[in-house]
Amino acid sequence: MLDTKRGTLLLCSAVGASLVLAGMTPASADSAHGAGSAARADSAVSAESGDNVGELISIPAGESTAATYARVTRRAAEINARTTADKKCTGVWKHSVANVDWDRTPAGTVRWSFKLTATARANLGAAVTVTMPNAWVNNHAINPPYGPHSKASTYDFHGSMNKYNRKGSSTKYTIKTKNKITFYWLIKSNSNPRAGATRYITCAVPPKGTS
């Protein structure tokens, strides 16, 4: 049965989803998160904010993967250096390239789930390879917590981070509340070597158990 107090978006069942699709929930689905609704709505930030960036890119003909990585890495490093983590990594971060959901488990793991928009999918084609060329914690470059995944562009791409290594170090660090984290995703079309997209988020690690 539907728990109307908490909202159907908390139901993990095909029934709940089909009722949502049939229009039986509030017009703004993001407002239907019960106790978590305020945080989720508050963290839905504008597409043009410096901590929430993305763009469709055209990859020069013949450019090697390494050269593309180097180019987007320079840009990501520039953005990271000038961007502060003013918002928590919670709720949904909307953007015309991809929406990203965030939470932090009670044990402290930050998790994210990433979905390409129809606009991005139309540009990228049916299958894509998603990578994370760069990531930072408190402005230290780290080994990115996302390996390459080649899947249908309609898929949800997800990852998590609790422990991490700074680049060039074997020491394992654990993320802490209020750490600044920056993730930079590169999405390349599998069918068109010149089509790609980037997605960039800087945010602050929320308290444990936050969604």
Binding site: R6, L9, L10, L11, C12, S13, A14, G16, A17, V20, L21, A29, D30, A32, V92, K94, S96, N99, D101, D103, T105, T109, R111, W112, S113, K115, T117, A118, T119, A122, V130, M132, N143, P145, Y146, G147, H149, K151, A152, T154, Y155, D156, F157, H158, G159, S160, M161, N162, K163, Y164, K172, S211
Partner: protein, 134 residues
């Protein structure tokens, strides 16, 4: 098969219920390379769709957020970190297919890997441990 690739045989197949018994997760394949370990799985019935397309090309929430994470430790005590993954619904809508990865690749002398999977779908969540031969 790439040189040095280790692929789980039929003996690695495992199925268990997740998300308070609402779904069953079946491990379909475990593949290990020098760089990573990858686990392919299927969840039945399919997880609800999180997003639906708007006519303007943007996304609108249609279902609950779904989070999937994994960590691992081998029989030698070496830790493996979440390398991310991806999942999607099959065209008929009957199941969710996906894969997730851990990094780094296993040590050559490691013989098994114990995975801790954490799955959250809206208000429901479950944690599962499974040990897979390498």
């Amino acid at each position: 098969m790439a040189k040095g690739k280790r692929k789980g045989a039929g003996g690695t197949a495992q199925s268990f219920t997740v998300l308070n018994g609402r779904h069953e997760l079946a491990v379909r394949r475990l593949t290990a390379t020098a760089e990573r370990v990858e686990l392919a799985y299927r969840i039945t019935p399919a997880l609800p769709e999180r997003w639906r397309d708007n006519p303007d090309g943007s996304l609108d929430a249609a279902g609950p957020p779904v989070f999937f994470s994994v960590e691992g430790v081998d029989d030698l005590g070496r830790e493996y970190l979440d390398g991310g993954g991806a999942f999607g619904t099959d065209p008929e809508g009957g199941f969710t297919e996906g894969s997730l990865s851990l990094e780094p690749g296993p040590a050559p002398e490691a013989r098994s890997l114990t995975l801790t999977l954490m799955l959250t779908c809206g208000d429901e969540q479950s944690t599962h441990q499974l040990t897979m031969p390498l």
